[in-house]
Structures are given as C-alpha cells and as structure tokens.
Symmetry: C2
Subunit: 198 residues, 2 copies
C-alpha cells in the first residue's frame, strides 16, 4: 500500500488531503521529528534531503516535495486542468506557495506556535511578507471561486494547507474576506480534513 | 511575439535558456529592478506578485514563476519525461530548487556580489544550508548524467541557473565533482547560454 511519511502540522497536510480527495488507499507513517527521525539513516534513504513528507509507492519507489506528490497523484484527475495555460498557472501558484507563501506564513506560525517565541526578532519581517502574499491571493480570489478555473485544483490544496492555519502565525484572516470565502469553499470538499496527530 | 520580462542574474535565466533550447522566437524586455520597475503599476498588472521574470504570450496572457514558465514551454518536448514517476521527480527537483536551493545559494550570492557585504551576519547560515543542498545534488549526480532520466529535463535547467553561479556566493564547486561534470554536460546544450545584461 502507498505510505505517506508525515508529520502533523507541516507540509504533509496537502498530500494527505489529496489522497483523501481521490480516495486512494494509503497508510500514514508518523515521522518523529522532535526526536530527529527525519535525519536518521533510514529516513535519509527515503528522502536524502531529510524533509517530511515523503511518499513510498507499492514498488518501493519514493517521491519527495509535497507539491510533486500532489502532481503525481493528481495526474489524470480533475484536479489538474486540461487547458495548457491553466495547467501552467496552477503550477505558478504552487511555486508561489513554496517560494513566497510558506517561507513567511508557515515559518511565522512555527515560531509562535511551536517555539512559542512571540518576541522573536524575525517575526515583523515574516508578518509583513506574509501579509503581502495574502494580499496577492485576496486580489486574485476577489472575482474567482478557486485559484485556477472553476473548481478545485492542486493549487487550492497546496495553498489551503498553511493559509487556514495562518492565524496561528499572527495573521488576521478577517482582513481577507475573499480568502475566507475560498477557505469555506475548500472545506466542502471531501478530502479537506485535518491530519491525525500521530 | 512572446515577451520575456527579465533581469540579468536572477531567476530569468532558466526560462531564457529554455526558450533558446526549444528555439521559440521571443523578445527580451529588461526590467529595471534597480529603479523598482518591478513594483510599478504597469509591471504589477503583468505579475501582481511583483517578481521577475514574467512571460507575456501573443494573446496578452501572462505567466509568472520561472519554473511554471519552464513547464508551459516544455510541454510536448523531450524536456519533460514521458514516464509518470519521472515527471513527478522532475517536479520534485524543481520544488527543491525553489524551496531549498535558491533561498540559500542565490541569496548568499546576492549579498556578496550585489550588496558586497562579505561580513553580513546571514552568510554563515546561508553557506551551511547551501552546502547541504549541494551535497544532496552531489550524491544524486554521483551515478547519473542528469537529474531525471538520461537526458536534459526542466529540472536541469532550473538547477543549472544558480548552481553555476554559486561560486559568487562563496561556494567552492571543486568540492562537488559530480556537480562539476553535470554543469559541463549542461553547457554542451544549445540553450545553455548567459543572458544579455540589458
């Protein structure tokens, strides 16, 4: 069976939602990051970059990077647009998520929720960058139901994960009403759930 | 004609190499970042995220994020593997480039080459992270000619861009012989060239 090596509260959420959304049978394997299990020789064989999540397919092949995992399982489903430009724009938002959104919003949340350092000197810059990312999303969603096309795509799953958790990082989502409506829309999808803690 | 809005020395290089590689007719439009042209209202219409590069197609459509641009123009060419798992692994390396490689290696180079601050307090951490990224690449390339499959793919173009410029960031590529051989292999490709300054 497909195995998703995960940690709750990190980038594992989007692949988890996708597997639920497409109804693929899979098994969750908890990676004990607090005890550095992701730096163990066994884990580094699965993902030499030492990041969680990673997926192991039934033949033993592995695949890392949450958004590449989304792509692999999304192929052939309605979660990837048929139109060439729309498909590339979906990837545009997935790269935006990795380069612009996650390094600000998820890192701010990590510092506040996990490290519990509300006075960390990095926070003001992370908050400013995160607000800029949310503003770009808000503008885009002002007259759209989903990021690309008229239904859920991989871009929505990738961006839902850390956006709906942004309040933990100190972001007030009330300031972004179009994002709020989009989050609610995503929540009606069968795959959009939370992860088990372990 | 396709227009590539670019700045020399930044993420514009990979899309530029790709357009050269596939032989598409295109025009380069210099974005004067030093004078904040990428924050002008006209540019923000092309890319609301205010990042360079962006591509404008003949019908006026735009597409941002260097790796999404690679995907768009690479579709249907040998630069995207036919095999489903290989295709996802190509994307895995492209997300690695954006999340793990660029934020360390390109930022170190920016600080040293453009800001000319060799004593910047961020450099030790950036160098350590960049070295870890290069080590992951070195291991992967030890018994492979290219990142995925047996010929050039989008992953090679994405990673070539800042890897061959890594010495400017203070990285000694002599310590990574497999990377050195891979860079030389990439350089024999017709599209692998430098960008004009303006």
């Amino acid at each position: 069976m497909i195995q998703l090596y995960y940690h709750p509260g990190n980038a594992s959420l989007a692949p988890h939602m996708l597997l639920e959304e497409i109804g693929a049978p899979f098994e969750l394997v908890f990676v004990d990051r607090a005890n550095a299990a992701h730096k163990s020789p066994a884990y580094l064989k699965l993902n030499p970059n030492g990041k969680v999540p990673v997926v192991q397919l039934e033949d033993g092949s592995t695949l890392a990077e949450s958004n590449a995992i989304l792509w692999y399982f999304g192929e052939g489903s309605a979660l990837i647009p048929d139109d060439r430009l729309q498909r590339a724009r979906m990837l545009q938002w997935m790269f935006f998520e990795q380069y612009t959104h996650e390094p600000a919003i998820a890192v701010a949340r990590f510092i506040r929720v996990f490290l519990q350092r509300d006075d960390d000197p990095r926070l003001p810059d992370l908050l400013a960058r995160g607000q800029r990312a949310l503003t770009v999303m808000e503008q885009h969603l002002a007259d759209r139901a989903f990021f690309v096309g008229d239904h859920l795509s991989l871009a929505d799953l990738a961006l839902f994960a850390y956006t709906h958790r942004a309040p933990g990082g100190g972001f007030d989502l009330a300031a972004y009403p179009a994002i709020g409506r989009w989050l609610d829309r995503c929540r009606t999808e069968p795959g959009v759930t939370e992860m088990p803690a372990k």
